[in-house]
């Protein structure tokens, strides 16, 4: 295994230590910054796509500094191409490690997907077959990222539209073994579970029962579009361009009731609405977190005394 060398700054925190436990957050969109600045009602966290902050300077970094001063930040990598067979791009990995070092994010995550092949960047989260060989590649890549940043990452389950007949693992088994071998945590995207379950004809609850929920460090919620496949069956598309669908809220409620409060992000990346709309969507997730936080603590206390 390759160990990346990074320059470590002193352990002194340059930003306030803002905990993310039990909170709901929203995608950070720079156009929302003026409204966020004057909104005292939001106490969640913000998630940023790491790549948008890989320029040398300018307004993106100024905005992220301002957000990081007031809120916990989740750093979400999109283009590491961990799921691809090619070696990771060391330049990109170094940029990612620099961001982790600079902004001290509460959460760091990436995707079980690939996006670059033979130097061409496809700007999409592409799927992989689940086999012994792809598992070896993914685990080596996850370990390489974790070594470079000096902390575990959360790996996100994908939304997929095709099936690979060569796959020899169920997705949940693949993810569990990846986590066991690398020590990574998991980012459970509940919308992706619903989208993939619909697209591939399995039960979303069955998937969640097979999923290693005890390793989940963050949850994603998002909106999706509905189209049709070649056989006329519903084909859901993970579009992040609208409110979270009711069945996804129901699944989310089930997960939180089962697991207790887990930091939860509402993603909205296309047709981005006013800040108040996105904030209200995050607050809807916060209400579910708060509701089950009380029950969960009560349940734990009962369990402790019984």
């Amino acid at each position: 295994m390759t160990v990346e060398t990074t320059v470590r700054r002193p352990s002194r925190l340059r930003f306030p230590d803002r905990p993310v436990a039990g909170r709901a957050g929203a995608s950070f969109k720079p156009e929302h910054l003026p409204e966020i600045d004057t909104d005292p009602s939001f106490h969640g966290f913000f998630e940023v796509h790491a790549e948008n902050y890989m320029g040398a300077g300018g307004p993106p970094h100024a905005a992220l500094v301002a957000i990081r001063q007031r809120f916990p930040v989740s750093l979400h990598g999109v283009t590491m191409s961990i799921g691809g067979p090619e070696p990771l791009d060391r330049t990109h990995l170094a940029r990612f490690a620099t961001l982790v070092d600079r902004y001290e994010p509460a959460l760091v995550s990436e995707h079980l997907a690939w996006s670059t092949h033979e130097d061409v960047f496809f700007s999409d989260l592409l799927p992989l077959p689940y086999t012994r060989q792809t598992l070896d590649h993914v685990c080596a890549h996850v370990s390489q990222v974790q070594d470079a940043i000096g902390r575990p990452i959360l790996m996100e389950n994908p939304a997929t539209y095709v099936f690979f007949p060569q796959s020899t693992y169920a997705e949940t088994d693949f993810i569990r073994e990846m986590a066991q071998r690398t020590g990574c945590g998991l980012l459970l995207d509940v919308n992706n579970v619903f989208v993939s379950a619909t697209n591939h004809g399995f039960g979303a609850l069955d998937y969640l029962m097979d999923f290693p929920l005890d390793l989940v460090g963050e949850i994603h919620l998002a909106g999706h579009d509905e189209q049709a496949d070649d056989e006329g069956r519903p084909l859901l598309i993970d579009t992040h361009d609208r409110a979270v669908a009711d069945p996804v809220w129901a699944l989310y409620d089930t997960v939180i009731r089962q697991c207790g409060p887990i930091p939860t992000l509402v993603e909205w990346d296309n047709d981005v609405p006013d800040w108040s709309v996105l904030r209200d969507e995050a607050n809807a997730a916060q209400r579910i977190l708060d509701l089950h936080a009380d029950r969960y603590l009560l349940g734990k206390r009962h369990a402790a005394v019984s």
């Binding site: 040398a56 300077g57 300018g58 970094h61 067979p85 496809f122 700007s123 590649h137």
Partner: protein
């Protein structure tokens, strides 16, 4: 990387090559390595990825080149952007670095040949985004020039700000670009065949674009190229007799085009 034709090896490492081959080529069939869970055809399913890739890249270009898009209309721009994306997919994972070769593509794009200024407008917009993401640096304080003994001034060299970009066009690219970026009507009708030079700077957090008077672009480009102050003034006059050095110096200091002065031939600075 050597690839084996055997399915087992294909599942391990070759899947990405097989999957990627048809993403940017609508004439190629759906890769045989994908299907529905019951083994059925996955053309519409694979098309989701095809569409995601081309739409994502075309949207990125639309964000980078809003004036070009406004000039040609959404449908024309989308067609041109998808044609560009298929011929020149990004080599960087950072989409804000995409499209440096888009202006050259626009210049050779046959359907756009009635808009000869379009490529130069695209160059200005690409420079705007370069400046937006450039490293932060404090511009040269305007009073610094006054502290240099007059006899030493001709030999002084200037170090450019990381955000500095200078663009020359035989067309009114600056006026056309700015009128179509902020959506405001220009004060006077734009004469497209009047040559315009554009200065892009970012002294703080706000990108600034201004039209340069005659000879100033040649003067500033000479400074960026390492010419001494005296030599660059000569370059300005060689470009046009209308060159006005005092105005050019005032513009470069006000715009924050440079960060430091030094002595030429590597003599100690200050």
């Amino acid at each position: 990387m050597p690839r084996s034709p055997e399915p087992a090896a294909n599942a391990g490492t070759g899947f990405a090559a097989g999957f990627a081959a048809s993403l940017l080529d609508p004439g190629r069939a759906t890769p045989p390595i994908v299907s529905t869970t019951t083994g059925g055809r996955a053309d519409r399913r694979y098309a989701v990825y095809r569409n995601n890739v081309t739409t994502s890249l075309a949207d990125a270009l639309a964000d980078i080149f809003p004036a070009v898009r406004r000039l040609v209309g959404d449908a024309f721009f989308s067609g041109m952007a998808i044609a560009f994306a298929r011929a020149h997919p990004p080599r960087s994972r950072l989409l804000f670095q995409y499209g440096h070769d888009f202006p050259a593509f626009v210049a050779s794009f046959e359907p756009a040949r009635d808009l000869p200024y379009l490529a130069d407008v695209a160059s200005i917009e690409r420079a705007w985004l370069d400046a937006f993401h450039a490293a932060d640096a404090d511009p040269l304080p305007p009073q610094v020039l006054g502290t240099i003994p007059p006899d030493d001034l001709p030999a002084v060299v200037f170090h450019p700000h990381p955000a500095l970009r200078i663009l020359r066009s035989p067309y009114a690219a600056f006026s056309i670009c700015t009128a179509n970026r902020d959506g405001r009507e220009p004060d006077a009708p734009i004469r497209g065949d009047v040559a315009e030079d554009t200065l892009v700077t970012r002294p703080g957090l706000i990108v600034s674009m201004r039209r340069l008077p005659p000879g100033t672009a040649a003067f500033l480009l000479a400074l960026v190229g390492g010419s001494s102050f005296g030599a660059a003034i000569g370059t300005g006059f060689a470009d046009t007799e209308e060159f006005a050095p005092a105005e050019a110096i005032r513009i470069m200091l006000n715009a924050g085009a440079f960060v430091a002065v030094g002595a030429s031939r590597d003599r100690p600075s200050e």
